[in-house]
C-alpha cells in the first residue's frame, strides 16, 4: 500500500518519522509529502486520498486492519478546513513531494518562469504591478513598484534577497513554503531576477529552522540548471530577531552586526553591498509564479480594496484547529478565530488574539468583525503583519503580555537608535511599577508617552511597533492594569 505522510518539521516534531518507519517496517511504501497545514491532525496519514490523524506509531496496525475509525477524517481534500480555503500559494500543499522536480513540473511548475522569459523585464514588472501583490512580510508595500525601482536603478550588479527570517511567533507560512514547496520560491526569485536584471539571489533563513535550511539547500542544487544563469545561495541567520528587518538583514548578509540602516537610501537604490536590491518576504516571492503563470488579473480577482490576492493566514497559540488557512483578503478576524479555528484548544473562552507577531496588536472579541485587510486593521490601530494570529484564552494576564512586549524589544533591539534601545528598558521598568500598584495612573500615562516616542522616533519596526501590543493591551484590557482603575475610582 502507498502511504503519504508529511516530512514538514511540524509533522516530524509531532512524531511523523516514527509513524513512517512503522508503515515501512510492515512492508508499505511511504511517500513523504508536504503538509496540508491541518496541524491538529499531524502526523496525518493519507491512504488512497483518505486521511487519519493525529496518528501515533502504535495506531498503525489498527489503521491497516480497518480499526482506525476514531482517527479517520474522510477524504483529505474535502475536509472543511481545506475546502473553505483559496489556495494559490499553497496549491501544492499536501499533494507533492517537496524535492521532486517531476512533481513540481507536473503541477504547473516553471510555467511562470517560461512566460517571464518571453515577456522581458518591463512586462514582468507591469504584470506584478497589475496583480496588486503587496509585500507579505508586514509592510504591505506594492511589490511591482519596488521591482520597478530596482529595474530602473543604474548598476552592473543587482541582487534579489529573500527574507526568510520568519521570527514572529505565530507565523510559520514561510517555513511551510521552504519545506513544502521550495522550487516555487526559487522560481519566484528567478522571475524577480529577470524582472530587474539581477543574476544572484540570496535566501536568508533563520538558524532556528534547520529543516528548512536543509530542504532549501537541496532544492537550490536540484534547480540550479533550470534557473541558470541566475544563481541562488542559502545563508543562515544567527539568532537575531531584528535581522528580519530588511536593512538589518542586508548588514547581516554582508557579515556585519545586524544593525538597522537609516533610510534613505532605500535598498532598491543601495542595498546589498551597495547595489540595487530587491528584498522581499518568502510569501511575496512565492506568489509570483502564480501571477506570471495565470496572469495578473487571475490574482487580482481575489481580495478586497487595496489588498489583492490571498493571504496565507496562520492560526496559532491556544487554538483548537491550528494551521495554515490561505484565503482571499476580506474574511473577518472572528470568522478566522471562532469558525475556522474553532476557538481555544483549552476549551475556555477566547479573551485576546494577537495579530501580526510580537509587534502586532492584541484584539478583544469586540473587534472580531474587523475584516482581514491592511487598511481595515490599520484603522483599528493594528496590523496584519505576516498574517499570524495567536489565540489566548481567559487565563491570560494582559499586563504580563504588555510587559513581555517591552522585554522582547529590549532583548532583541539592535541598539542603533535610542527610542528602541532605551525606551524598551524604561517601558518594562515602568510597567513593573504599574503591576506592583505604584502610582499606576501616572505611570501608565508615562508608558503612553514613551510609546508615542518609540512609535515615531525609532528607526525600524522593532521599536516603532512595540507600542502596538503594549497600547492595545492597555486600551482593550484596562482591567488587567488593575491599580489604575482603583486609582481612577478614588
Amino acid at each position: 500500500m502507498r502511504v503519504r505522510i508529511s516530512d514538514d518539521a511540524l509533522a516530524v516534531a509531532c512524531g511523523a518519522d516514527a509513524v513512517a518507519a512503522r508503515f515501512a517496517a510492515l512492508g508499505h511504501e511511504v511517500v513523504r509529502v508536504s503538509s496540508w497545514g491541518m496541524h491538529w491532525l499531524e502526523p496525518l496519514v493519507e491512504i488512497d486520498g483518505r486521511g487519519y490523524g493525529p496518528v501515533a506509531a502504535s495506531d498503525v496496525e489498527a489503521i491497516l486492519d480497518g480499526r482506525g475509525k476514531q482517527l479517520a477524517i474522510g477524504v483529505v481534500a474535502d475536509h472543511p478546513f481545506i475546502a473553505a480555503q483559496t489556495r494559490l500559494t499553497f496549491a501544492r500543499a499536501g499533494k507533492t513531494q517537496p524535492l521532486s522536480l517531476d512533481d513540481y513540473a507536473a503541477t504547473g511548475g516553471w510555467v511562470g518562469l517560461e512566460r517571464a522569459h518571453d515577456l522581458g523585464a518591463a512586462a514582468i514588472v507591469a504584470e506584478v504591478t497589475a496583480s496588486g501583490l503587496r509585500g507579505r512580510g508586514g509592510a504591505g508595500f506594492p511589490a511591482g513598484i519596488k521591482w520597478n525601482t530596482v529595474r530602473l536603478a543604474p548598476g552592473e550588479r543587482k541582487y534579489i534577497v529573500c527574507n526568510a527570517d520568519e521570527g514572529d511567533s505565530g507565523t510559520f507560512a514561510d517555513r511551510m513554503v521552504m519545506e513544502g514547496d521550495p522550487f516555487m520560491l526559487i522560481e519566484g526569485m528567478a522571475i524577480a531576477g529577470l524582472a530587474v536584471g539581477a543574476s544572484k539571489g540570496f535566501v536568508y533563513i533563520r538558524s532556528e529552522y534547520p529543516h528548512a535550511i536543509r530542504k532549501m539547500e537541496a532544492a537550490v542544487r536540484l534547480a540550479a540548471p533550470l534557473i541558470a544563469p541566475f544563481e541562488v545561495e542559502i545563508r543562515v541567520g544567527a539568532g537575531a530577531y531584528v535581522c528580519g528587518e530588511e536593512t538589518s538583514l542586508l548588514n547581516s548578509l554582508e557579515g556585519k552586526r545586524g544593525e538597522v540602516r537609516a533610510k534613505p537610501p532605500l535598498p532598491a537604490h543601495e542595498g546589498l553591498f551597495g547595489c540595487p536590491t530587491v528584498i522581499n518576504n518568502v510569501l511575496t516571492l512565492a506568489a509570483v509564479p502564480f501571477v506570471l503563470a495565470q496572469g495578473a488579473q487571475a490574482y487580482a480577482d481575489y481580495g478586497m480594496g487595496r489588498s489583492r490576492g490571498t493571504m496565507p493566514v496562520q492560526l496559532a497559540g491556544n487554538v483548537k484547529y491550528g494551521g495554515l488557512f490561505e484565503t482571499a483578503f476580506g474574511i473577518t478576524l472572528g470568522e478566522l478565530v471562532e469558525k475556522i479555528g474553532g476557538g481555544t484548544d483549552s476549551g475556555r473562552p477566547v479573551r485576546a488574539v494577537q495579530v501580526g507577531g510580537p509587534l502586532g496588536a492584541y484584539f478583544p472579541p469586540a473587534l472580531f468583525d474587523t475584516p482581514f485587510d491592511y487598511e481595515a486593521f490599520a484603522a483599528v490601530d493594528g496590523l496584519i503583519g505576516h498574517g499570524g494570529i495567536t489565540v489566548f484564552d481567559d487565563s491570560v494576564d494582559m499586563a504580563k503580555q504588555a510587559r513581555f512586549a517591552f522585554d522582547f524589544c529590549a532583548a532583541e533591539s539592535c541598539g542603533k537608535c535610542t527610542p528602541c534601545r532605551i525606551g524598551a528598558v524604561r517601558g518594562r521598568e515602568t510597567l513593573d511599577k504599574v503591576i506592583a500598584g505604584e502610582s499606576a495612573a501616572s505611570n501608565l500615562e508615562l508608558v503612553a508617552d514613551l510609546c508615542e516616542t518609540m512609535k515615531f522616533g525609532s528607526l525600524c519596526a522593532l521599536g516603532g511597533f512595540t507600542p502596538y501590543p503594549v497600547m492595545s493591551a492597555i486600551t482593550h484590557f484596562p482591567e488587567d492594569f488593575g491599580p489604575r482603575t482603583q486609582e481612577a475610582a478614588a
Binding site: 518539521a9 511540524l10 516530524v12 516534531a13 509531532c14 496541524h39 491538529w40 499531524e42 520568519e166 521570527g167 514572529d168 511567533s169 505565530g170 507565523t171 510559520f172 514561510d174 517555513r175 538558524s207 532556528e208 529552522y209 534547520p210 529543516h211 545563508r235 543562515v236 541567520g237 544567527a238 539568532g239 537575531a240 530577531y241 547581516s252 548578509l253 554582508e254 557579515g255 556585519k256 552586526r257 545586524g258 544593525e259 553591498f273 496562520q314 492560526l315 496559532a316 497559540g317 491556544n318 487554538v319 491550528g322 494551521g323 484548544d345 494577537q354 510580537p358 499570524g388 495567536t390 489565540v391 489566548f392 484564552d393 491570560v396 503580555q401 513581555f404 522582547f408 532583541e412 539592535c414
Partner: protein
C-alpha cells in the same frame, strides 16, 4: 587550529563570508575563541574589534565553551498561550547543572506548542512530564 584554516579557506571568494565562517567555527569548536577571532580578522582583513562586535551581536555565537548539552525551549507568545511558562520552571528543575536550558523565540511550530529543540531534533505538544523525560534522556 588546523581545522580553522580549512574553514577559512573553504569560504574564500564568497561574498560576505563572516557569518558562514563563524557558524562553521562554532560548529567545529563549540564556541568562537579569542584565537579564532584573531585568525578570522587577519584572514578577512578586518579589525579584531569588527569581528568581536559581530560575534557578540548574535545570540547563536558563544565566546566561551560550555560542555553541557542544550535544550532550546520556545517561550514566545504562541507557546506562552499554550503553557510554556510553567514548562520553563519544570525544565530548569530537571536540568540541574547537567543540561543548559536556553530560551528561543519561536521554532515555527506555533499551533502545537509548547515546543523545544535539542540539536536539530524538534519536540512538540510538550507538558511537564514530557520535558522532564526529554531532559532526563539527554
Amino acid at each position: 587550529m588546523a581545522d580553522l584554516y580549512h574553514i577559512l579557506a573553504a569560504h574564500d571568494g564568497r561574498e560576505g563570508p563572516l557569518l558562514p565562517i563563524l557558524h562553521d567555527v562554532q560548529a567545529a569548536f563549540g564556541h568562537v575563541s579569542e584565537e579564532a577571532i584573531r585568525a578570522i580578522a587577519l584572514h578577512l582583513n578586518l579589525s579584531r574589534a569588527e569581528v568581536s562586535g559581530v560575534v557578540s551581536f548574535y545570540h547563536d555565537f558563544r565566546r566561551t565553551p560550555d560542555p553541557r548539552t542544550a535544550i532550546k525551549l520556545c517561550r514566545a507568545e504562541s507557546c506562552q498561550a499554550r503553557g510554556s511558562e510553567a514548562l520553563a520552571a519544570e525544565a530548569e528543575r530537571s536540568a540541574g547543572s547537567r543540561v543548559r536550558v536556553e530560551t528561543v523565540y519561536c521554532l515555527g511550530l506555533c499551533s502545537v506548542g509548547p515546543n523545544a529543540m535539542i540539536g536539530e531534533d524538534l519536540h512538540a505538544r510538550l507538558d511537564g512530564a514530557k520535558v522532564a523525560a526529554l531532559i532526563g534522556a539527554m
